[in-house]
């Protein structure tokens, strides 16, 4: 936040989209998890990625985050091809991510957890500590600063996931179900926090199961179903789309019967 992060180099294509996904497919053996998905994310927006269980949301997320490479297709960030870039290089490009299954460094305190991220931005441990404190304050974990990260309750761990990603001072934040597993009372403050983060100019790609949250946050939404793009557009357009309603209702019917 004080220093220019490595991610804020002069942009290659200043007017193009920040993230561009072109014809991405991913095959796991006989299963086609993603089929020809294309969309782009504009700088400064929140892009929601929704779909019923098994739609390929997490697969697409992992392709973008560099966890694994797509079978075919291309992911471009600021106009540069980043397909298959190992995940540890993503951070230096200015891309931060959270994990759906939270992964705190259990032997460390909350502050030490966040400092692992801020270390990458400065040569001085002291500065990294200060930066970490700033992020901890932003996500509201001050009270837990010196507590073991393994002890945090679920809502706290979600915030820690977010804090660590924010510690990278990212340009693009990939959020994997940050609201899942929270009770509604815990969601509201987190949604407000995400809005606050957007107001600092961070672009977000949001994989989410909680519909209401996606609607409240997203500027654009992509709906995946059976690995294919079912619909995309503004939240209003998407929610009125009969195919989307059918995909979700079909899912709920099955839940009700099963």
């Amino acid at each position: 936040m004080t220093e220019a992060s490595p991610g804020s180099e002069p942009q290659a294509a200043s007017n193009g989209p920040l993230l561009e996904i072109t014809n991405v497919s991913k095959r796991f053996g006989g299963l086609l998890a993603l089929s020809d998905v294309s969309f782009s994310v504009q700088q400064g927006t929140i892009h929601g990625l929704i779909g019923p269980n098994g739609a390929g949301k997490t697969t697409l997320f992992n392709v973008v985050a560099g966890t694994f490479a797509p079978t075919t297709g291309k992911v471009a960030y600021r106009g540069a091809d980043i397909t298959g870039t190992p995940s540890h290089r993503m951070a230096s490009l200015g891309i931060g991510r959270t994990f759906q299954i939270m992964k705190p460094f259990g032997s460390m305190t909350v502050h030490e957890n966040v400092r692992i991220a801020t270390y990458g931005r400065t040569d001085s441990t002291e500065e990294a500590s200060t930066e970490a404190d700033a992020v901890i304050a932003m996500v509201g974990l001050e009270r837990w600063r010196d507590r073991s990260a393994g002890e945090l309750p679920t809502a706290g761990r979600k915030r820690l996931e977010l804090a660590r990603a924010l510690g990278l001072a990212p340009n693009l934040l990939l959020l994997d179900e940050v609201l899942a597993g929270l009770v509604p009372a815990e969601r509201k403050p987190l949604i407000d926090l995400l809005k606050e983060i957007r107001s600092t100019g961070v672009t977000m790609l949001l994989v989410e199961h909680v519909m209401q949250a996606v609607m409240a946050l997203s500027d654009e939404i992509v709906v995946l179903h059976h690995g294919q793009m079912l619909a995309s557009g503004s939240p209003r357009d998407v929610i009125d789309d009969p195919r989307v309603i059918e995909a979700y209702l079909g899912e709920e019917h099955r839940h009700a019967e099963g």
């Binding site: 985050a65 540890h88 230096s92 692992i116 990294a128």
Partner: protein, 360 residues
């Protein structure tokens, strides 16, 4: 000026202060212990250092090695070859051995991490590498194969040649210097960003990667440090023992002796290997002397060979069963839990207090 000095002193971390204290206290050990007792103290110090070096990998990096004899033997043989065959000082051997240990660590690490060998497979690979070096050493004529190498006896004592009179306390001091340097190095490494990255990769590799850490690089750094510091121990051991042969350098016994203090004391804790080494070696001495001279009602035990080892083994099993985090590790953990609980309670009561105030 004075203020900055004060601040600098208060800026010294707890571990460093303890290292200084231990170093000062240990200076007086030879005053109280002589002969075989000083031998025991010397071995405690040596294996505390070796196990601390092992702990970088097994404890902090989560890479359990069952083949640290490989590094140890490289250090011992580098020194032995340079000294006994080439007539070069063990000080040079120490440096060459440490570099050799680090390089061998990088090789072993690169191959195992490249092919993603984890858990039991990693453990077995470290063991196989040590065995491989053992077999090579047995047949390798420049280092005298199975016969081994001896320290050429000099007439005068010398630090440069690391050679003193047989009962000189200087061997103890030599090991003490090795231990203190090892502890300082580990403390600096683990407090640094590099060390924090190593622990982060151990705790969660995916999360660490997402924060820009290259897991391969972090692990290789841990293995290289561990290998170099363990190899240094090989040098001192050779000078102390005056002799090295393949089973002494690369044998599985050495691997076990290196890892046991860490396991018993507490893996991944700074003081665990130190506590473990003291405990294990003293325990070993006690069981041996107990069987050699048992109390009257157990006199039938006298002189039964191997019984002391069985007793020693039983005690180890007991420690591992009842203190799974190791002796020091368990105590440190309990203390930590208690501290957390106190903080929690203090916070809760201060919140209640605030609530009451507001209610008023």
């Amino acid at each position: 000026m004075q203020e900055t000095l004060q601040r600098r002193l208060s800026g010294i971390d707890v571990n460093s202060r303890a290292i200084i204290l231990i170093g000062l206290a240990a200076l007086f050990v030879p005053q109280f212990a002589a002969g075989s007792n000083l031998d025991v103290a010397t071995r405690i110090v040596l294996f505390a250092a070796l196990s601390s070096a092992w702990n970088i990998m097994a404890g902090y990096a989560g890479l359990f090695s069952f083949g640290h004899a490989a590094f140890f033997g490289i250090g011992a043989y580098a020194t032995a070859y340079l000294l006994a065959v080439q007539g070069i000082s063990p000080v040079v051997g120490l440096v060459v051995g440490a570099i050799g240990g680090a390089l061998f660590g990088l090789l072993l690490g690169y191959l195992t991490f490249r092919y993603k060998l984890r858990g039991a497979y990693f453990v077995l690979t470290t063991f196989a590498f040590a065995e491989m070096l053992y077999l090579i050493a047995m047949k390798f004529s420049p280092i005298n194969g199975a016969v081994g190498l001896r320290v050429p006896i000099r007439r005068e004592e010398s630090w440069w040649w690391m050679q003193f009179a047989p009962n000189s306390p200087n061997y103890f001091y030599l090991m003490l210097i090795y231990l203190l340097i090892t502890l300082v190095a580990i403390n600096m490494l683990m407090r640094s960003r590099t060390g924090q990255y190593i622990v982060a990769v151990r705790d969660d590799e995916d999360a660490a990667s997402a924060l820009g850490i290259n897991p391969l690089r972090s692990r290789l750094i841990a293995v290289a440090w561990s290998g170099a510091l363990t190899a240094a121990g090989g040098t001192f051991y050779f000078q102390y023992l005056f002799f090295i042969e393949p089973p002494l350098a690369f044998g599985p016994n050495i691997s076990v002796e290196i890892l046991l203090p860490g396991v018993i004391g507490g893996m991944g804790t700074f003081w665990g290997p130190l506590v473990g080494s003291g405990l294990l070696i003293i325990l070993g001495e006690l069981t041996t002397s107990f069987v050699r001279q048992p109390p009257e009602f157990l006199s039938f035990l006298q002189g039964r060979s191997g019984l002391d080892l069985a007793l020693y083994g039983a005690l180890l099993i007991g420690i591992i069963m009842f203190l799974p985090r190791g002796v020091y590790g368990t105590l440190a953990h309990r203390w930590e839990v208690r501290r957390e609980r106190q903080v929690h309670r203090a916070e809760a009561s201060s919140r209640d207090g605030m609530k009451e105030q507001r209610d008023d």
